[in-house]
Symmetry: C2
Subunit: 240 residues, 2 copies
């Protein structure tokens, strides 16, 4: 499917060409994109047409434009532009509390029926870790990393560095989907999060995928419901 191309305008073609080079990883974050005049010559069109394409890409956040230095591929700053969740560390610091992180476990296993998001047999890295705000437990993270896509993760030590922070540096532009739900804490999670057994928890599951729809990583974040909320603000026209 996905045959939506009838009479493509020139600026749409330019936009699509550049976007696919970025999203495929061919042009990595920091890569210099030709100037408007150069692209105008390449496509045999005026600078205004090129400008229209590049301006829209900049508004989307895929590229960063500066005078004199030119246009470069931007580096993703958040795991989700929808919910604006950059990292748990910055969430905690935004509350004015000191941030601390502890790795609970880390092991390598192959994908099977219990991990339907990953193709069977793929090498996976399973991580469990706790994030603290001040002295209180803030969030329990259960992370799976697809080593077929990010083999470098094998040789990284996640004792000091949370996997989310490392991954956001590694993986170029990618898509993410979220599902938020509510659960009561079982005995184990209650002990870890320092809440009574049966307390309500907010669970956020995030899956990040490559343009080819291969899951790069899945994160399951469990927050004590009484201590955490997800906020979203909307003023008309924030999506333009």
């Amino acid at each position: 499917m996905e045959i939506t191309h009838p009479p493509l305008f020139l600026y749409e073609r330019i936009l699509g060409d550049i976007e696919s080079r970025i999203v495929s990883g061919q042009w990595l974050p920091g890569h210099a994109i030709p100037s408007e005049t150069e692209l105008g010559k390449t496509y045999g069109c005026s600078r205004m047409t090129v400008n229209k394409a590049l301006t829209q890409l900049a508004r989307k956040g895929l590229i960063e434009r500066r005078r004199r230095t030119g246009t470069r591929v931007a580096r993703p700053r958040t795991e989700s532009a929808v919910l604006d969740v950059s990292s748990i560390e910055s969430e905690v610091l935004a509350l004015g509390l000191p941030y601390r992180y502890r790795l609970l476990s880390c092991q390598q296993k192959s994908a099977d029926a219990s991990t339907p998001s990953f193709s069977t047999g793929a090498a996976l890295l399973f991580l469990r870790s706790l994030h603290f705000a001040g002295n209180a437990a803030f969030c329990l993270e259960q992370r799976i990393i697809n080593l077929e896509v990010v083999p470098e993760a094998k040789s990284i030590c996640f004792d000091a560095q949370p996997p989310g922070a490392w991954l956001i540096q590694q993986v170029p532009w990618s898509a993410a989907s979220h599902v938020i739900s509510a659960e009561v804490a079982d005995e184990e999670n209650a002990a870890l999060l320092e809440v009574p057994e049966g307390a309500a928890c907010l669970v956020m599951c995030r899956e990040t995928t490559t343009p080819e729809s291969v899951v790069i990583t899945s994160a399951r974040l469990t927050y004590p419901g009484a201590r955490h909320t997800v906020r979203a603000k909307f003023t008309p026209g924030n999506s333009g």
Copy 2:
């Protein structure tokens, strides 16, 4: 605060002028906006400059443009562009289940310390209702409507029509903020939602405000955690 306007470009001025007329309710949904050529004469500029402003407004979804018939103020189709929650009815229908609605209670009271979002003394309408998907309870809605802003609500019968569906027709463009959290069901809510007492529930609180930051309505939606999730999808560049 909010003095960020130093050297405003002309297209930004045009865009802002039109946006504020829409968002203030001066131009209601359906209102015809002058054509590009007319606006070009009004502002003493070329059509391209007007086009840049109007194109951006159309991308934001505030206006709808059609050839020959011209440009009109769009009508909001969702209570939140961020979470894409149009109405509970369409949520249920999207699951392929028949939708049913029942009003539990409806009473008028004045704002006091228990309703900090509304200025003290304001006339408020309190509604409690249940939404069903098939035969199962889907969501408990606790709604407060500010009658100072929407006095028409006094004479509306919410027995058959959910308040959210009615409000979205009434109120023009407005801003909404969301807070999502988790709670366990107390005895009353458990009975209404047909879940065991102590079950985890997802609670979404939404406040819709006028441009002057007066709260029009507040909605507290309680979903059985096991039966409902909030989904958000993100592909790079959806916000451009």
